[in-house]
């Protein structure tokens, strides 16, 4: 998987690159509109992480350029601004998703993977993870070939876990992923525990392995044995 990171803040750029390298992506980083245009003209990427505020212009220009050269790459727009107009113009110009800084890496990861899934595996929307099989089109989840009934949020949670295999996931990022920005609105995140318990039960009941381990005081980890 090839990923282009367009971000002018070097530390952040390096962190994103390091992160996705661990996820077995091939990463290239640039920090200006000019370089980004050059790169997308010369190479094909599976996904682009695009910052809007760049020193020589707006990331939206890269979007327009991509459209003009008719390249259909998955694009996730990253912005320090929460302003709606950025979001709307970004999505209108053909971005696939939008994330505001500061973001959660697990969230970024899940979203980039979901973009790539949508763009590149049109015929095959199956994710296999151990004895779990997910069809992202029909949203049907099977454990050992037996279909299990998940609620919408449980389904999103499972996908989130699978996208972030082997990584520590905090309760905060789970809440943020499922209910959006306002994690602080919930007094306590304890209810997440029952959410996860339910999901776990449904998988184990069909003979699936328990992939989920708790990291005390921090969160959870989803991993193959």
């Amino acid at each position: 998987m090839k990923l282009l990171i367009v971000e002018d803040e070097h530390e952040l750029q390096e962190d994103i690159a390091a992160f996705f390298k661990k996820e077995h992506f091939l990463c290239e980083s640039v920090s200006s509109v000019y370089e980004a245009k050059e790169k997308v003209y010369m190479y094909d990427y599976d996904a682009i992480i695009l910052d809007i505020g760049l020193p020589d212009g707006s990331g939206l220009e890269v979007l327009e350029y991509l459209k003009s050269i008719e390249k259909n790459t998955g694009i996730l727009v990253l912005s320090a601004r929460g302003a709606v107009d950025d979001k709307i113009s970004g999505l209108n110009l053909g971005a696939d998703d939008y994330l505001t800084k500061p973001f959660d890496f697990n969230e970024l990861n899940a979203r980039v993977k979901s973009i790539i899934r949508r763009k590149h595996f049109k015929g095959n929307n199956n994710i296999d993870f151990g004895d779990i099989n997910i069809n992202t089109n029909s949203q049907i989840v099977k454990v050992n070939s037996n279909e299990i009934e998940l609620t919408k949020k449980e389904y999103q949670l499972l996908l989130f876990f699978i996208s972030n295999e082997n990584r520590v996931i905090t309760k905060e990022s789970i809440v943020e992923h499922l209910w959006g920005d306002d994690t602080a609105m919930f007094g306590s995140f304890d209810f997440i525990y029952s959410h996860i318990k339910n999901l776990r039960k449904k998988i184990v009941k069909e003979g699936g392995s328990d992939y989920l381990s708790t990291i005390y005081g921090v969160g959870y980890k989803f991993k193959r044995d």
């Binding site: 962190d15 500061p102 905060e172 920005d181 602080a184 919930f186 209810f191």
Partner: protein, 414 residues
């Protein structure tokens, strides 16, 4: 008090004072002249009487109601004119009237006479009252003229001022266009308008600068926050930390999260205020409500809360769809957060109202809770209610709150 009333009162008081002084002077002059006149008349009459006595005319025939001549015993003080005011009974109209009396003792031939002449002062009194009457009439007439004239003139004269006022009333701090005052030929109003123009321009630039600063600050803070967050995450993921270190990293991570939420909340408030969010006509609020209820259903379930929904009426309102979503989700999240264990949440609609109620701690929400950073609970940011009230104000939605029997009730009236 209106300026017009004030000036009228000053005018009236001023002219009253002028009239009192003028009246006093006129009266004084009149009385002196009349006085002199009466005295001359009396002296004249006395001379005639004396001449008549000298000419041996019978005293009896000389005496009448205005003139009394008596023979008297010889006395010393002769030829001394004594003028005196007195009252005398008048048979004709059965009244006492003021008279002036001249008394003198004369020696004519060998005989001593006491000559007393009277002159009624009734004429003088009548004259004075007549003068006063006409003066009051003139005064009142002048006053009416002044006030009416004042009203008419003011209406015209103050028009540019009223114009300025109404323009200022419509002035919005955030608006781009400056206040356009109409031209006026009155120099003072021209000065006022230009001063106001200078002031509003200054306020406007200050406001824009401050706004830009806040926006930039909010914007610039997000990037370092993103870096802190990513570094924390790296620490959390590294797998080499022991439990205490992990907890510390988590604590930094959480504080960073909180900071960015506060920042986002404040930017949202600032953006609502500065009108970044446009209005769409007739947004289907019910649809948004249903969507949000669906969104939070599981969270409500997982918090062991009972949800009661009765959404039937279709409510449409001119609002920004995005903010309508923020508004409604804030209510639902509040209801989840400030609830008791095994509590209840109820969401109902009627023709133009959405009603949220939830069981909660027996503590009502004061007015101050709608301000920023007022919170009952250390876990919250304290921005939720202030965002709610700001959105409501922006889009003309009436917000009613009360606390009854352990239930918080919020009502949105569209």
């Amino acid at each position: 008090m209106k300026l017009l009333v004030k000036t009228s009162i000053y005018y009236a008081m001023g002219s009253l004072l002028a009239f009192i002084i003028a009246g006093y002077i006129i009266l004084l002059n009149y009385t002196t002249i009349i006085d002199k006149d009466v005295n001359e008349y009396l002296i004249n009459r006395e001379e005639i009487a004396t001449t008549q006595i000298v000419n041996d005319i019978q005293i009896a025939s000389l005496n009448n109601y205005e003139q009394i001549i008596k023979k008297i015993q010889p006395i010393d003080d002769l030829d001394e004119l004594v003028l005196k005011d007195t009252s005398m009974y008048d048979v004709i109209d059965d009244h006492f009237h003021k008279y002036r009396k001249l008394q003198v003792n004369r020696k004519i031939g060998r005989q001593y006479f006491d000559i007393t002449i009277f002159k009624s002062l009734i004429q003088t009194e009548i004259l004075v009252t007549e003068v006063l009457k006409s003066m009051i009439t003139v005064f009142l007439g002048l006053l009416v003229f002044l006030i009416v004239g004042n009203i008419l003139i003011s209406r015209n004269l103050w028009k540019p001022f009223k114009d300025t006022l109404s323009k200022l009333k419509d002035y919005e701090l955030g608006s781009v266009k400056p206040v356009d005052f109409s031209k006026t030929s009155t120099r003072e109003f021209g000065q006022l308008n230009s001063m106001i123009n200078i002031m509003t321009n200054k306020i406007h630039t200050d406001y824009v600068n401050l706004k830009e600063f806040t926006e930039n600050a909010a914007h610039e803070i997000q990037t370092p926050l993103a870096i802190i967050r990513s570094k924390c995450e790296l620490l959390l993921q590294s797998g080499t930390l022991n439990e205490t270190e992990l907890k510390n990293a988590k604590s930094i991570y959480n504080s960073c999260l909180r900071l960015s939420k506060i920042n986002r909340g404040l930017s949202l408030l600032a953006e609502i205020e500065s009108g970044v969010y446009g209005v769409s006509k007739k947004v289907n609020v019910t649809e948004i409500l249903e969507h949000q209820i669906e969104h939070y259903k599981e969270a409500i379930d997982l918090n062991n809360l009972q949800l009661e929904v009765l959404v039937e009426n279709e409510i449409k309102h001119d609002i920004n769809a995005e903010l309508a979503e923020v508004l409604i989700s804030n209510f639902i999240k509040n209801a989840i957060k400030h609830n008791i264990s095994d509590g209840k949440i109820s969401i109902r609609t009627s023709t133009n109202k959405i009603h949220f109620s939830n069981s909660g701690e027996p503590k009502g929400i004061d007015k101050v809770m709608f301000k920023r950073f007022e919170k009952s609970n250390t876990n919250s940011l304290g921005l939720g209610l202030s965002i709610i009230s700001k959105i409501c104000r922006k889009f003309d939605i009436k917000l009613v709150y009360n606390y009854q029997n352990g239930t918080h009730n919020f009502e949105l009236i569209f």
